[in-house]
Structure formats: C-alpha cells, structure tokens
C-alpha cells in the first residue's frame, strides 16, 4: 500500500512537471491552457490519491478533494479560455483553422461550409 502510494505520487509529480514544461514551451494562450489543464488535473488527482493510499484513514477525504478538483479544474480552464477569446487574444500564427467568427454568426442558422 505504501509503495503503491509512493508510485502514484511519483506519477503525479511527473505529470505536474510536464504540465509546467508545456506552459513554458507551447506557443499561445490556448495551447498552454491545454497542457495546464490536462496535466495538472491528472497530476493533482494521482498525487492526492497517493497520499490517501499512504494514510488509509485519510482515503475518503482524499477522494472528496480529488473529485472536487476533477469537477472544477476544467471549469476554470474553460473560463480562462473564454475570457481570453472574448477579450481578443489572437491564436498562434500557424494555427490551422479558426472558426470563431463563424461561431458568432451561426447562432441561429448552422452553416456547413469549411472555415
């Protein structure tokens, strides 16, 4: 149990490190958010569960906290992405496709043409 907890904490830390590296390397706000959200969610999730495995009587608390992180982390990322999109942060130059404009126009009439 103790070793399993340590392994989980190790995996979590590795993913948190990769998330940080991603924020450092990727080109624009949205791509950085991608790395930030995914890696920190799984990283924090498995770190907290690892603590729960090392101290079994904290397990229920750890699960409650982990579930809260799982529910709220994507919402915060969504709020950040939406805020930067509304305030006009540009996409990276080499982005393949940008359908933001179309999204605003097509609220009523869905379009099928390529962006």
């Amino acid at each position: 149990m103790y070793i399993f907890g340590q392994v989980l904490i190790g995996i979590g830390t590795a993913f948190l490190f990769l998330g940080g590296l991603g924020i450092f390397r990727l080109p624009d706000v949205y791509n950085r958010l991608q790395a930030g959200t995914k890696c920190t969610t799984l990283g924090a999730f498995s770190t907290i569960l690892g603590v729960g495995f090392i101290h079994p009587n904290w397990m229920l608390k750890a699960i409650v906290i982990a579930v809260f992180i799982l529910l709220t982390n994507p919402i915060s990322a969504h709020a950040l992405a939406r805020a930067s999109y509304k305030s006009g942060v540009k996409l990276w130059d080499k982005s393949v496709v940008d359908r933001c404009k179309e999204f605003e126009e097509c609220q009523e009439i869905p379009k099928e043409e390529e962006g």
Binding site: L18, Y30, K61, V64, H78, S95, D98
Partner: protein, 170 residues
C-alpha cells in the same frame, strides 16, 4: 421552474443527502456527535441551496441511468489518461508536432448539467478544450486539427461521450 413544484421535496432531499454524504466522507467517523452536527448543517445548507444544487430529484435516477453512469467512469478515465500521454508527447517532442485550431461541434444534449458534463469531458480528453458554449453548438480549441467540418469534428470529439451522457441526463 414553477412547473416542477412537485419535485421540490425531492430536490431538497437530494441536496440534503449529497451534503450529508460529503460531510460523512470528510469527518470519517460514525460518532453520534458528528452525525448530529452534520445533519443540522446539511439541513441548513440544503435549505439555502437546494434550488442550485439539484435540478431533478432522485426519482429520475433509474437503474439504467445508474449503470450507464458506472460504465461512463472507466471510459472517461481511459480518455483522460490517453490525453495526458498525448499532451506529454507533444510537449517533450523537440519539434512540437501541434496543428492547433478552433472548430465547432453540435451537441444533442438539452439539459444544462448534461452540457456541463460534456464540456468538462471534452476539456479533459485528448487535445481538446471547450472555449464557449452557446445553445447547441460548442467552440472547441483542438491541438491537432484533423477535420474542419462540423459533422466530422462532432463525430470525432464528442460522440463517445454523448452516447453515455444522453442516457444519464435524459
């Protein structure tokens, strides 16, 4: 909201049971003092917040929905772990193989909680991040765009979750 007046008691009870369950998990004992305090606090919390806590009561929870919920958890976790390795690979790779872009998808889900669950699942799964939700269309930032057509992207990104969520939140 007023049309659902008969669900009021049930919605209150749902909020109460959920708060009490979280309390029990946090204190971690079955001491009668903790139970009493938790009961009083859950009653207060549920009285203040049942309107926002629970859209529907427990009576809408059929066994089929419950089974789909249980089946959804491994699907979701598998997608999340894949997403993490995907992002890790893109970050570590010296040339960063990313083709980012913004695409649209359409969803069939009607309820707000269903859309919330879908948006959260999309955010946590390979290379996609929900940027905005408006009506039945969602704006998705995709780190590795494979298609720009709305139908194609809907099929690739959200279909595997919608199959489950449609039943759970119907």
């Amino acid at each position: 909201m007023d049309a659902q007046g008969e669900h009021r008691t049930q919605r209150y009870l749902t909020a109460f049971v959920v708060s009490f369950g979280v309390w029990l998990a946090l204190v971690g004992t079955l001491n009668w003092q903790e139970l009493l305090m938790g009961g009083v606090l859950s009653a207060i919390v549920a009285a203040l917040g049942w309107r926002y806590f629970s859209q529907v009561g427990f009576s809408r929870l059929t066994p089929k929905k419950f089974l789909y919920l249980i089946a959804y958890i491994p699907v979701f976790f598998w997608a999340m772990i894949k997403a993490n390795f995907d992002v890790a690979y893109r970050v570590i790779h010296p040339r960063m193989p990313i083709h980012p872009g913004v695409v649209l998808i359409k969803t069939d889900l009607k309820s707000d909680s269903g859309k919330l669950a879908l948006a959260n699942s999309i955010t946590l799964t390979p290379g996609t991040l929900t940027m905005d939700v408006e009506g039945d269309s969602m704006l998705i930032h995709w780190i590795n765009v494979k298609s720009t057509d709305t139908k194609e992207t809907t099929r690739m990104i959200s279909e595997k979750f919608e199959r489950f969520l449609k039943v759970i939140f119907s």
